[in-house]
Amino acid sequence: MTNQKDVVVRHPYPVRVAHWVTVLGFFFVTVSGLGFFFPSLHGLLGFLGTPQLAQFLHPVFGLVMVAGLIVLLFRNAPHCLPEKDDSKWFKHIPDILKGNEHHVVEVGHYNPGQKMLFWKIMGLTAIMLVSGLIAWRPYFAHLFPVPLLRLALLVHSMCGILMMFMIFVHIYMGFWYKGTLRGMTQGTVSRSWAKKHHPRWLRALATKGNKNT
C-alpha cells in the first residue's frame, strides 16, 4: 500500500462528485438510449422500470449528466487547453498505444487525447442537449416542425453513439492505465503514477506546493 506521502490529489472532491453524477446520468441514458436506438434491445428499457418510464427518465438522466458536465466544464476546462507540445503527442500515437507514452512525451495535467475527449464530450453534450430538447415529448417536440424533429433525432442518435464510443475509450483507458481509477474514486494517485503519466503536472504541482510553503 502506498502511504499518504506517496500520493497526490488528482481530482478534488467536487470534481469527483460531478464525475460520478455524470456517470450515473450517462449510465441510465445509455441503457435507455440503446433501448430506443436498437429495437431489438427494447428490453433494456425495462431497466428503468417500464418502457414508458424509460421514455420519461431518459431525458431526465440526460439533464443529470449535463449538470455533472457543467461542473466538470468549469473545473477542468483550464486543464484542457491546448498546448504547443500536443502535436508531438499525436505523432506518437502508435507508440502510445503500445504503452510507451511515458517514453515519448512528457504529459501535463491531461494528455492531448484526454483533452480532446473532454472537448468532444462537451461539444457532443451540447448538441445532444439541444437536439434532445427538440425531440423531448410531450413537452417540446410539438413546438418544432417535423423536418427539424427528424434532424434532431438523427443528430441525437449519432451523437449518442459517438459519445458511447468515446466513453468506452475513456473507460478502457482508465482500465488499461493501472492506477488511474483511484484518481476518480479516492481522488488521489500515486506519485509514481503521476510521475510516469503526467510528469509535467507533478512538477507543476511541486512548484506550486513549494511556493505555498
Partner: protein
C-alpha cells in the same frame, strides 16, 4: 423495381440482424398487438329513424344490456341502417353524432318550475307539475273561453292560450296534440314547419 413489404423490411431491418445484441437473444416483443374487441358483439340492435332532417335515414341503435330484466338498456352506439333505400347505411354528421344527443348533459331529468320573479329552477313532482299546469289552464279557460261571438255564432275558442308544436315529434304525438288543442278550444296553434 417492385418491392414487396417482406423484402422491404428485410432491407430495413437487415442491418439489425448484424447487431451484436440481437444475436445475444433479445427477443422482439411478443405479438401483443390485437385489434380492439368488436364492441357490438352482443349489443341489442334497435331500428329507428333519424330525428333531425326529413331525409329520414334509417338508424341502428346499439344498446348495452341484452334485454334481461336486470340490465337497464342504454344506447352506446348508433350507425346507419344499410337496408334503408334512401340512406343505405349512411349518416351525416348530425346523425352520426346522435349518441351524444341522447346522452347530452343538457337532457332534462325531472319536472321543474321557475316561480315568477325568481332566479332558479325548483324540482317538483310530476303530480305537482301537472296539477299546477292544469290549474293555470282551467282558470284561464274559465275566464277567457269564448263560446259565441258577437254575431251569435258558436265559436268555442280559447284565445289566451297558445301551443307551439315541434316538428320532430311522431305523428302519434302530433295527433294527440291536435286533439288536445281543439278540445281545449285553442286557435293559437302552430308548429315550426316554417322555420
Amino acid at each position: 423495381m417492385q418491392i414487396n413489404r417482406r423484402q422491404f423490411f428485410k432491407v430495413c431491418s437487415g442491418g439489425m440482424a448484424g447487431t451484436t445484441l440481437a444475436a445475444l437473444g433479445f427477443a422482439p416483443g411478443t405479438a401483443l398487438a390485437q385489434a380492439r374487441q368488436y364492441k357490438l358483439l352482443r349489443a341489442r340492435e334497435i331500428r329507428n329513424t333519424c330525428p333531425y332532417c326529413s331525409v329520414g335515414c334509417g338508424l341502428l341503435m346499439y344498446s348495452l344490456g341484452d334485454g334481461a330484466a336486470n340490465a337497464k338498456n342504454t344506447i352506446f352506439h348508433i350507425e346507419g341502417d344499410p337496408d334503408h333505400p334512401v340512406s343505405r347505411g349512411a349518416l351525416c354528421p348530425k346523425g352520426a353524432g346522435l349518441v351524444d344527443f341522447i346522452h347530452s348533459k343538457d337532457r332534462l331529468q325531472y319536472p321543474e318550475v321557475r316561480e315568477p320573479g325568481t332566479n332558479k329552477w325548483k324540482r317538483i313532482s310530476w303530480n305537482e307539475a301537472l296539477s299546477r299546469i292544469a290549474r293555470h289552464i282551467k282558470d284561464d279557460r274559465d275566464a277567457n273561453f269564448v263560446e259565441q261571438n258577437a254575431e251569435g255564432v258558436t265559436v268555442n275558442r280559447l284565445p289566451t292560450l297558445s301551443l307551439m308544436a315541434c316538428t320532430s315529434i311522431t305523428n302519434e304525438v302530433g295527433f294527440l296534440t291536435q286533439k288536445l288543442t281543439r278540445a281545449l278550444g285553442l286557435v293559437h296553434v302552430d308548429c315550426i314547419a316554417r322555420v
